[in-house]
């Protein structure tokens, strides 16, 4: 992706301006521990966690900022935040 001259940007919501590049810590779900309660889907402030057909949470990393709220709130402690290298 090229840069816009002068760092110009069109107005838009977070859906247009992907926030995934902000992330330092990446949530990873342990499928053995996860109870599929869906709380992480509700708690995610970006709305970027969905459930797959089996009810397992799937994170959209184009938008996940790595805030860690899902890991903090997970009752089963099934989500770990792991530092990413870029």
């Amino acid at each position: 992706m090229g840069l816009n001259v002068g760092c110009a940007a069109r107005p838009g919501r977070a859906r247009d301006n992907k926030t995934g590049s902000w992330r330092v810590f990446r949530p990873t779900v342990d499928s053995e521990t996860c109870k599929k309660c869906g709380l992480c889907v509700l708690i995610c402030p970006e709305g970027c966690i969905r459930e797959d057909d089996d009810g397992m949470p799937v994170v959209d990393f184009e938008y996940c900022k790595g805030c860690g709220l899902c890991a903090e709130e997970c009752p089963a402690e099934a989500i770990a935040m792991e530092q990413e290298e870029k």
Binding site: L3, G6, C7, A8
Partner: protein, 386 residues
């Protein structure tokens, strides 16, 4: 048509012919006569511009940023403390790639307060992302305004620029000068065609924030644009010759450099004195020449290296001081960088600060010092005061 005109008034005549949509400036000595005259032009209906009266230089350039972003050709002018007060806005203007042109009547920086000339103000802004041209006389000063808008507004460049000239020495001096007619200027400098602009029906924001994932690339692109500006200034200078009959097709101009053993390097009005001093030294059998820098940003590294190839010693006349830097003068450092690994000795001489006169005999004395291997020093200090 040739006329005898004060330098500042000649700048105002040039700016009028550039047809800026907005002029926003705050008066400061020695720039005042420029904006005073422009205000007259607007008030008298001779110039179709909005003249914004503002409360400070910070506001002046901020208004220019807004007006340029909205799609107008804009103009400002300042000096000394005024430029330093604009510093934050200068970095924003270049980062937003707004092609603003500003005349800098070079003046010393306080404290202590000095209204007189040196080049500390614009040289202190060397990293702000504005190109910087330095005029030797009033004619160059006039011509660089047309040339600067053409370079700045080139969609391949999109950088703001300073037209620098020595305060009082040029701003308040009456010289014969050719002020081109409007038709000739219009043919050389077409109406402003903004690359992008603020438009309520198609909104954008400029200069948005960049995370660590993006910031460096924006600075890289700014640096690349400045490197491209070197070629654009040369092209605009050659085209200038075709339109006006005066050519500026190089970023550095050699004077009697053929077979020279010692080269003086300088920027601005001092070059006139240096040329006279070179003539005297040549008459006395000394192989001395001058390399005049028209552009400090972009710095014409290759041209400097080419022009100084084969000399034994180089003396750079620095009308600035970077306190604590071993070489003292900022221009000297760049010349030494251009000649790195060539074995040519390059020395900086801090000279003429705060309006101290530089005479032909001072230039000869500096050449003596360079030839004897002494430099990176202040020249012309009053020993009884220190």
């Amino acid at each position: 048509m040739m006329e005898i005109m004060e330098g500042s008034h000649a700048v105002a005549e040039a700016v009028k012919r550039c047809r800026p949509g907005v002029v926003s400036a705050y008066p400061i000595t020695p720039q005042t006569h420029i904006v005073e005259r422009l205000a007259d032009f607007v008030a008298d209906g001779e110039m179709e511009s909005d003249y914004l009266t503002v409360d400070s230089e910070f506001s002046a350039l901020s208004a220019c940023v807004g007006a340029s972003a909205a799609g107008s050709r804009v103009y400002s002018s300042t000096s000394s403390q005024g430029l330093i007060l604009m510093a934050e806005v200068c970095f924003n203007a270049s980062g937003m790639r707004l092609p603003i042109v500003m005349s800098i009547a070079n003046r010393a920086l306080g404290a202590p307060l000095s209204i007189w000339n040196d080049q500390q103000d614009s040289i202190a802004m060397r990293d702000s992302g504005w190109f910087q041209l330095y005029a030797e006389d009033v004619q160059e000063l006039v011509d660089y305004h047309f040339l600067s808008y053409r370079v700045a507004e080139d969609h391949n460049i999109l950088l703001p620029g300073f037209v620098c000239f020595d305060g009082f020495i040029l701003s308040h001096t009456y010289e014969p000068v050719d002020i081109p007619d409007q038709e000739t200027v219009d043919a050389y400098l077409p109406a402003f065609d903004p690359y992008q602009k603020l438009d309520a029906n198609d909104p954008i924001s400029m200069g948005m924030y960049a995370t660590p994932d993006y910031y460096m690339e924006f600075r890289y692109e700014l640096d690349r644009a400045m490197e491209r500006a070197a070629g654009a200034i040369e092209d605009a200078g050659r085209a200038f010759g075709e339109h006006f009959g005066r050519e500026y097709g190089s970023l550095a101009e050699a004077y009697r450099m053929d077979d020279a053993d010692t080269a003086l390097v300088a920027m601005g009005s001092i070059c006139g004195t240096v040329k006279d001093a070179v003539d005297e030294m040549r008459d006395a059998g000394r192989k001395v020449g001058l390399l005049k820098l028209r552009s400090f940003r972009p710095f014409p590294k290759a041209e400097v290296a080419r022009a100084l190839d084969g000399v034994a010693a180089v003396a750079v006349l620095d009308k600035n001081i970077s306190p604590g830097m071993a070489m003292k003068g900022a221009v000297g450092l760049e010349v030494r960088d251009a000649l790195w690994k060539t074995g040519i000795d390059v020395y900086s001489y801090v000279i003429g600060l705060g309006g101290r006169d530089v005479r032909r005999k001072d230039i000869a004395a500096v050449a003596d010092l360079a030839e004897s291997g002494r430099g990176d020093m202040f020249y012309g200090l009053r020993e009884e005061l220190i």
